[in-house]
Symmetry: C2
Subunit: 131 residues, 2 copies
């Protein structure tokens, strides 16, 4: 199972893009706003995976609260799966919790879903459907 | 530049291996102890990358202090580079700080080196030399 991306919470997307550019180059495509999650995101390629830079558009959004409590840094780890619904159901079947009971629209037009951090020892795991 | 691995700090390596097994399978090889870093580590494959599970062998080790202050979770992000020394020198040349001025022996017999978290907006970045 591949790493789809590593999500990094940042207070300022433009500054974060500049910071990572010398190492990884610029984003694949222009930043995208996800109103449902109240974030603006940019994806920077790293081999078969990406780094997702996430800037909150509201302080009381999930990423805004993460920045306030933990500061800038790695926010989640996303894996590529053939079916988000099956991946989430597998977590529930093992007796663990999920944030999203089923897949929902995410960045780059993909279906995504989050397990609860308690399911993976404090790591917030996202599943990204790439059929 | 590929993601070599995502390092995850865990209080108990055996339990962490069990937790990730349903998603990713078991480790590539038996756990390895790194006395210089006071950790025991196990690498679990995820596509071209790995998840590195890190259990501290002492509470006042770097990973032990991370667990005490931040709890279980993602600890660092490692990229594969042709030369660790060149990668670290690049960080210094841009005016940023490094933890290791030059490469040193790391897990799996590889040369590794860490940038300072301030160099990448709070993300602890490791370089792993794969010539």
């Amino acid at each position: 199972m591949r790493i789809d991306h590593v999500g990094i919470a940042v207070p300022n997307l433009a500054q974060a893009i500049d910071r990572w550019k010398p190492l990884l180059g610029g984003p694949d495509s222009p930043p995208e706003e996800l109103p449902s999650q109240r974030v603006r995101v940019a994806f920077v390629r790293a081999g078969e995976s990406h780094i997702e830079l996430l800037e909150p558009t509201a302080p009381d959004s999930p990423v805004g609260r993460f920045l306030a409590s933990r500061g800038e840094g790695i926010h989640h780890l996303a894996f590529r799966v053939p079916s988000v619904d099956d991946a989430l159901a597998g977590v529930v079947r093992r007796g663990d919790r999920v944030v999203d009971p089923t897949g929902r629209p995410g960045a780059r037009g993909r279906r995504v879903g989050f397990a609860h951090p308690s399911a993976f020892g404090g790591v917030l795991v996202e599943f990204v459907e790439v059929p």
